[in-house]
């Protein structure tokens, strides 16, 4: 059977092992995803961000923190000489700073996703599945978090915890889970009385097993889509905190902080603030396109 070409093996209607069935499912999703070229661009941008973050040391031609000669290399214009995107007021190569900034951005994105998604899923599915007073308490807490604009709440948290990139991540994570909880709860409400959940109950499955094995997998895709779409917003919030001086601290090459320090020279040395702005724009766009594409292939409701 291994003689079958790999593609046929993956697309087989008669998988012979658990692994083949799972891989086949994944491959089908990939095939559907691949037809959406905008989503592929999004994926390309996100993959590029990851690669740039990993190989920042190799890609960046200069040190991101220590600048060059302050007399001759301040405010070098972009696309001229040795500095591709120019230099800033401290003679630091902007391209190198953006490349290293990708690490910070990726860290923010990854940590927020890792912290906020499980909290949101847990709160949402629990509250939707059990209903009653559990639901009331959990949802009122969620409402309290939802009542504040995200940036303001993050600002308050950072002000309390002290400025710095780690605290900014924690603040963003704490403020971004409530929408996921709402989403997961809504999904849970629609499936909790379905026959396959009843069937699981009738087999004596515990609530934990039903929540984890039956409900969460169905909520997961819509939450993942939402998280991906929110990534742009998270990057912007992180940049906003950086811009306000409450996120990454100088001389860290965080994109938001770079814009903040470059805004003083916006008229005469436009590139200092613009280049990191373009980076934020491209990455946000990438996540949005990716999220849109994921919705098309993962969301069972949008499929038909």
């Amino acid at each position: 059977m291994t003689a079958l070409p790999r593609r046929e093996w993956l697309l087989s209607d008669r998988p012979e092992s658990r692994r083949q069935a799972r891989l086949g499912q994944a491959y089908r999703t990939w095939l559907a995803f691949r037809t959406n070229w905008l989503a592929m661009i999004g994926l390309g941008i996100v993959v590029a961000l990851v690669l740039v973050a990993i190989f920042a040391d190799v890609i960046a031609p200069y040190d991101p923190i220590v600048g060059g000669d302050l007399r001759t290399e301040r405010f070098v214009e972009p696309f001229t000489g040795n500095h591709f995107l120019g230099t800033d007021d401290l003679s630091r190569d902007i391209f190198s700073r953006i490349v290293h900034g990708a690490r910070l951005t990726l860290m923010v994105v990854a940590l927020v996703a890792v912290i906020a998604t499980p909290i949101g899923l847990l709160v949402g599915t629990t509250s939707g599945y059990f209903g009653g007073w559990v639901d009331t308490i959990l949802m009122r807490i969620t409402d309290i978090f939802l009542a504040f604009p995200r940036l303001i709440l993050a600002l308050a948290f950072v002000a309390a915890l002290g400025p710095g990139i780690e605290n900014a991540i924690i603040a963003i994570a704490i403020t971004s889970w409530p929408p996921y909880a709402r989403l997961a709860r809504a999904e849970t409400l629609t499936i909790r009385d379905s026959d396959y959940i009843n069937a699981a109950r009738l087999q004596g499955a515990s609530s934990l097993r039903i929540l984890w094995g039956h409900i969460t997998p169905l909520c997961l895709s819509s939450v993942i889509i939402r998280v991906t779409l929110d990534m742009a917003g998270i990057i912007l919030t992180a940049a906003g905190l950086g811009f306000l001086g409450l996120g990454a601290q100088p001389p860290q090459p965080e994109w938001g902080a770079m814009i903040a320090s470059g805004r003083r020279f916006l008229i005469d040395q436009w590139w200092v603030a613009t280049m990191p702005g373009i980076a934020i724009f491209i990455v946000s766009l990438g996540f949005n396109l990716l999220g849109d594409g994921l919705r098309d292939v993962l969301d069972p409701k949008a499929r038909k």
């Binding site: 499912q25 004596g204 499955a205 997998p217």
Partner: protein, 253 residues
């Protein structure tokens, strides 16, 4: 007739819809002997499915008693109950988890009840319902309606229960597939000595499958009949006669 397998006495189920209290089942009593196939016939809203759901604990009972092997059932039901009583749902498109393969559908109950020889049991369960081993790793969307219902039957039987509750098991299926599933259920019952409680709106299906049946309307039992009485159209009540007439097909007024 020996001891009863399953018994419901003066069963009442009410649902609360906002401020309204809707009685769904009003004083229904059934008594099913071991190895018997018992039918519940009625139209939508007659409470026939609610009786099944009350028996397996999915609907709350407000009065009455349910006994299995003479023992009163507790709420919530214990693990031993689920090993004895299983249910097959009406719509095979809604009763299988869309992201679980046949393999995980069948292995989950085994894991919950800590059964041994799982591989062997899964393969046997599939063979019993007439599905080959190459169905094992498929997902529901790769199965037809009849195949899905077979998987649902396999899921119910893998815990080796004695009582199977069948909630309109064939009403979502094509006639030819219905015949296959009915034959399958019939064969499994005679092979394993199962007790069936089958709910259906289709008198012909119940007449084919069940030894005795009750006819329900508006949450109450209208009439109790044997298969022979039904086949001979010897119904006492008007409502049952009306059902019988309607089942024969269309007759111009």
């Amino acid at each position: 007739m020996g001891a009863l397998k399953l018994e419901a006495e003066a069963l009442e189920v009410t649902f609360r819809r906002g401020r309204e209290v809707v009685p769904a089942v009003r004083g229904v009593s059934i008594a099913v002997s071991p190895g018997e196939s018992f039918g519940i016939v009625g139209e939508s809203g007659s409470g026939k499915s609610t009786v099944l759901r009350a028996i397996c604990g999915l609907a709350p009972t407000s009065a009455g008693a349910i006994r299995l092997d003479g023992r009163q059932l507790t709420a919530p039901r214990d693990a031993a109950f689920y090993r004895q009583v299983q249910m097959v749902f009406q719509d095979p498109y809604a009763s299988l988890h869309p992201r679980h393969s046949v393999d995980s559908v069948l292995s989950e109950p085994l894991a919950i009840h800590r059964f041994d020889r799982r591989e062997e049991r899964i393969e046997r369960a599939l063979a019993d319902v007439g599905l080959g081993p190459d169905f094992r790793f498929r997902y529901p969307h790769q199965l037809s309606g009849g195949q899905r219902q077979r998987v649902a039957v396999a899921r119910a039987l893998i815990l080796e229960p004695d009582v199977l509750l069948l909630d309109e098991p064939t009403s979502a299926l094509d006639a030819s597939i219905q015949a296959e599933v009915l034959n399958l259920l019939d064969r499994l019952r005679s092979e394993r000595g199962l007790t069936y409680v089958m709910v259906s709106h289709d008198l012909a299906v119940v007449a084919h499958m069940c030894d005795r049946l009750i006819v329900m309307q508006n949450g109450q039992v209208v009439e109790e009949l044997t298969r022979q009485a039904l086949s001979a159209h010897r119904a006492q009540q008007d409502y049952t006669r009306k059902l019988l007439a309607a089942s024969a097909g269309y007759t111009p007024a």
